[in-house]
């Protein structure tokens, strides 16, 4: 898709920003069907079909939405760059709610098909109807499921939950502007301060987290950042060691680097480009291991599925996450559903307790369209790839017995 016309001029560092090549180029998200060519009626029909399906299976209420986003931007600089980018993003979710009026209880489970940089082919690529059926059936089970016993427990975290843990506990603390203090008044600072670069044992040897703004489907994927720098892939955590930050042309010089990792982004004409997160993803295991294999290898644990609620402190140490579904793992087998689970941890302890990862056959690219940062507030889209992973002796809370 890259239509690089190849005009390269190397500009001297003015002292204020690190140098960058200049480009004359256009870049477009690789899509097959432009969602804006599809009629509103077709979109509404599809959404109502999903709602009807959920209700026919027993949902009392259904919340659902579809998002279609086209971001068009043009970058020109006095250094000679002229870059046009045409970016597409898409997301749909259906969330059935079941109410048990006799017990005064209600539960819901949302489908876990992530937002992606993709066209309308999204609806053919993913099994929406099967996800909706499973959401309704599992919500019925959730209404009747027993409450979790709190305490320290092993957990297998599915990629469709772990992607958000990656976002919060690795994506944010490795933003250089946070580490330096530029976000102190709002998003916060970071425990991953500059003297820890190259030294901090962030996770176990299995943990490799890569930043990438070129990955197909990734929400932070594009040809160039809003400093006009060509996007790339680079390691953030290498065999458990913290090796790199996310940077912009303005920031790289603060840690004596002479190239930018192309992370500048402004969400509209009215906002200043600031450092925003690339797609930060967990590398799958090179050893063959499916989720089924991982479960078979586990004696006593909880399997956490789906994005629930999330919260983390302003330096990114202490987090607490819920999910959509929680299943008991006993003696290598998936057992019944349990409820009211939250897992809580400290970033470095948590990633160091990771002792098994699945292989690439279980790879899932999750993401968010609405990561917030900056003042005035800006939103930014970002994806995180992950595989299911096992973590030893994690603090499990029973959310029902907190108060």
């Amino acid at each position: 898709m890259r239509d690089c016309k190849g005009k390269f001029n190397f500009t001297e560092n003015s002292g204020r920003v690190v140098p960058a090549q200049s480009y004359t180029d256009t870049w477009k998200t690789p899509i097959q069907i432009n969602p804006f060519d599809i009629s509103v009626t077709d979109k509404i029909d599809l959404q109502l079909k999903y709602n009807k399906l959920a209700k026919s299976l027993g949902a009392d209420y259904v919340d659902s939405f579809m998002w279609f986003i086209n971001e068009w931007k043009y970058f020109a600089s006095s250094e000679g760059s002229y870059i046009m980018q045409d970016l597409y993003r898409i997301w749909a979710e259906t969330e059935p709610t079941l109410v048990d009026k006799s017990e005064g209880k209600f539960e819901s489970i949302a489908t876990q098909i992530a937002p992606l940089s993709m066209g309308y082919e999204y609806f053919n690529k993913f099994p929406f109807e099967r996800e909706i059926e499973a959401a309704v059936e599992n919500t019925k089970m959730k209404l009747k499921s027993p409450s979790v016993e709190p305490g320290k427990k092993d957990v297998i975290i599915h990629a469709n939950n772990l992607f958000l843990t990656i976002h919060e506990s690795c994506g944010h603390p490795t933003e250089l502007d946070r580490a330096l203090g530029y976000e102190a008044n709002y998003a916060g600072t970071s425990f991953m301060t500059t003297e820890k670069l190259g030294k901090l044992k962030y996770g176990s040897d299995l943990v490799n987290l890569t930043a990438d703004r070129t990955q197909v489907g990734g929400l932070a994927t594009r040809g160039y950042d809003d400093d006009g720098v060509k996007t790339i892939e680079w390691p953030i955590i290498d065999k458990g060691v913290f090796v790199n930050y996310q940077t912009t042309r303005e920031q790289a010089k603060y840690i004596d680097q002479d190239v930018s990792y192309a992370c500048a982004y402004a969400d509209s004409w009215s906002h200043f480009p600031i450092q925003r997160m690339p797609n930060v993803s967990l590398k799958p295991s090179s050893e063959k291991r499916s989720l089924e294999d991982l479960i078979a290898d586990t004696d006593d644990a909880i399997l956490v599925i789906g994005r629930g609620s999330w919260s983390i402190d302003m330096q990114r140490y202490n987090f607490q996450f819920t999910g959509q579904e929680f299943w008991e793992i006993k003696n290598g087998k998936k057992g019944g559903m349990i409820n009211d689970v939250a897992y809580q941890g400290n970033t470095v302890d948590f990633w160091n307790s990771c002792d098994a990862l699945c292989d690439e056959s279980e790879y899932y690219l999750g993401g968010s369209l609405f990561c917030g940062k900056g003042e005035p507030g800006q939103i930014s889209p970002v994806s995180h790839g992950a595989v299911p992973a096992r973590f030893r002796q994690i603090n499990i809370l029973n959310t029902k017995s907190q108060i």
Binding site: Y182, G188, M314, T399
Partner: protein
Amino acid sequence: MIFTKEESKELINKIISYSKADSASVSLSGSNSNNLRFALNTVSTCGAINSISADITSNFGKKSGSVRITSIENESIEKGIRMSEEIAKLSPDSEEFMPPLEKQSAYSEVKEYFDDTDKLTPKDISDKVSYTINKAINNDLSAAGYFENETAFYSVGNTRGLFAYHKETSAGFSTTVRTNDGKGSSKIDRSFADINLLDIKKFSDRVIDKTILSRDPIKYDPGKYVTILDNTAVSDMVGNLIGYMNKRSADEGRSFFSDKEKGNKIGHQIAGSKVNIYSDPQSPDAPSSPFSGDGMPVFKTQWIKDGVLKNLYSGRYWAKKTNSQYIPYPTNILMSGSDKTVEDLIASTDKGIYVLRFWYIRSVDPKQILMTGLTRDGVFLIENGKIKAAINNFRFNESPVNILNNIVDMSKSEKVVGSETGDEKIVVPALKLSEFNFSTISDAF
């Protein structure tokens, strides 16, 4: 871009005159704002944003379509109107369709526009903020912060002759001041319609005093303790609670406010008897729009009176279906306090925790409105009526409903800006609670 009442009316009428639909409504909004951001004791960015937009909704029978335009040239208006009509025609009938609101007889008089705020220049802002930065430098501290002033208007009109207009100003200032060892921090965040209420010197002095007090924190175990929540922490809890007070979800059995027998909890004692929460656009502490987005007049509304739930808000469709009054989401949130200061609450406490702010508050369980989040920018141990030491931050798991049931004492109410409810106009007291659930330690400062 700011329009007067007459200019707004003229433009809305012009937009409507293009309409070929059965009915249409238009809301017009515009703003001019300046912003300045600073960090590490120096200005990092500043900007100015002027914008205008019109939201057009066209209806055919029970079908509607909406379009937003950000240019008000004739060509854009016509394109916007035609597009909204096209979308409406393509849409299926909505069983919950409500025609535009009829012309309303009167709106409350609200003064939320102040010339002095409107006239603030970028130079005025940088002069004000320089006090904070210089004082931080002189105390060997590091200040980051944000200042924004804005003049905005919102008006709405429709084919049934309704017209409403509101103009407001705001001046917002926040600063986080940190110790250079990264172990101490404090923040203040305030916004007022009238710049003369925003005493930068007073607020900066207060936050710097608190930062100095936050130095050398000691480790303190999590647990349930007597706790004083400063106004800012309370604003996030009360603001979140209001967010759940939707009548429809309650009536449908999918809310904390649902009741098995009666449908919803209106009339139930849900909080301690000292709790009074209401809205009033004419409040001098937090003047706010006297009408909702569709032009419905907003008057003083009691949400919780002496601890009893009095009202839940609902949409027009649900109000009609359940034969109840249409009460839109409030434009401000006010909680009555006492005449005491926070210092009085501290002085009356033998042993307890004092929390200035919360951060990253999220719903954990909507059935009991269980929220999790963290303390941030100042937690202190109180012993024998005095602040004894700064302590570590905590993660909490608590419900705003619990908080309103555990009140021992309260201070006077103050308009503050919360971490997560900053867009709302909230006036609340600081609260002393018999207990508050801190569940784990956070190593962050």
